[in-house]
Symmetry: C2
Subunit: 186 residues, 2 copies
């Protein structure tokens, strides 16, 4: 069976994360949740098996090291083969996302919805994205500050700006469709 459009993506995020610094599985999960969650997520149920597979194939190396509180943990670092594989993957064209926007789906069938449901949908969307925008803005300030010294910062900022622009666009779209749909009622 031919592989899917872009397979093993969990493994590539892990390899990418390990190009930044060696980390434990738990730290990788924290990093994803805290830094790239707005465009990529992974659960521990994916991370730990992927780490085992990557190590077995020689892409990463794990060594036991006591944590800050004396817990046992395994710190993984990138091996040359892992870095090579990751760079090759980076040069490949990015697979287009397969969208699954539940809010658009519910909006699409709005003619079938109980009264008020669509207005509420838009309100929820707006509230969620307003909160998101505030979170992005503090990240943006922090990132712009490290633009000079951190070679990763321009790329991280570029991606973050994508999140900011997306969120701003959703907010403007909420206003636009509210007007469109209310005009239609009369």
């Amino acid at each position: 069976m031919k592989p899917a459009a872009s397979p093993r993506r969990t493994e590539y995020v892990i390899l990418g994360t390990l190009t930044l610094r060696p980390m434990s599985g738990y730290e990788i999960g924290r990093f994803i949740r805290g830094t790239i969650a707005h465009f990529w997520r992974e659960s521990f149920g994916q991370i730990y098996p992927a780490l085992a597979s990557l190590e077995a194939r020689g892409f990463i190396a794990g060594r036991q090291e006591p944590g800050a509180r004396g817990q046992r943990r395994t710190i993984y670092s990138l091996r040359p083969a892992g870095r090579r594989a990751f760079r090759e993957w980076l040069a490949l064209p990015a697979a287009p996302p397969i969208p699954r926007y539940e809010h658009s789906l519910k909006l699409f069938f709005g003619a079938e919805a109980p009264p008020g449901a669509t207005a509420q949908l838009i309100d929820e969307l707006r509230a969620r994205h307003r909160a998101q925008l505030a979170a992005y803005q503090s990240m943006e300030t922090r990132l712009r500050g490290s633009l000079e010294r951190d070679p990763h910062a321009p790329f991280h900022l570029a991606v973050l700006l994508g999140g900011v622009r997306y969120t701003e666009m959703v907010l403007a779209w909420c206003d636009e469709i509210e007007t469109l749909l209310s005009r239609q009622e009369d």
Copy 2:
């Protein structure tokens, strides 16, 4: 085990599609690919089993009918319980999408990428969204024409505008980050 954030979504798209008119499984697949593909996709491997399950639970009814070319096919229509279930689902808050943007992921790790890879990534993104925008624009013209007579049209237009605004935003973002990243090189 507790259900996922928003389970059985394939079944709900099918119920929603059948609120528009009775259709065969094949037609439902065509409809999704042709009309709502920019925010939702389903494969036949999902559609046919879901139809069987929905029928077994009394949400839809299928009857054999010869197709335009004499093929055997089953036309499904919504039953009262199906419409009720769909309306209840519509009133529920929409689950936020779990994002998986490969292009953002590759951009994020741009410092590790071979020379030119990031520029190419942005070029591909731009080309894809330029084509997408052109496709949307002809859909928009058509939809605006039926705004008066079709009660679904305002909602369909609202969703389509989301696609248009998203695509315009990506195009502007491509220019923005190209400037940002090239300024960083010096």
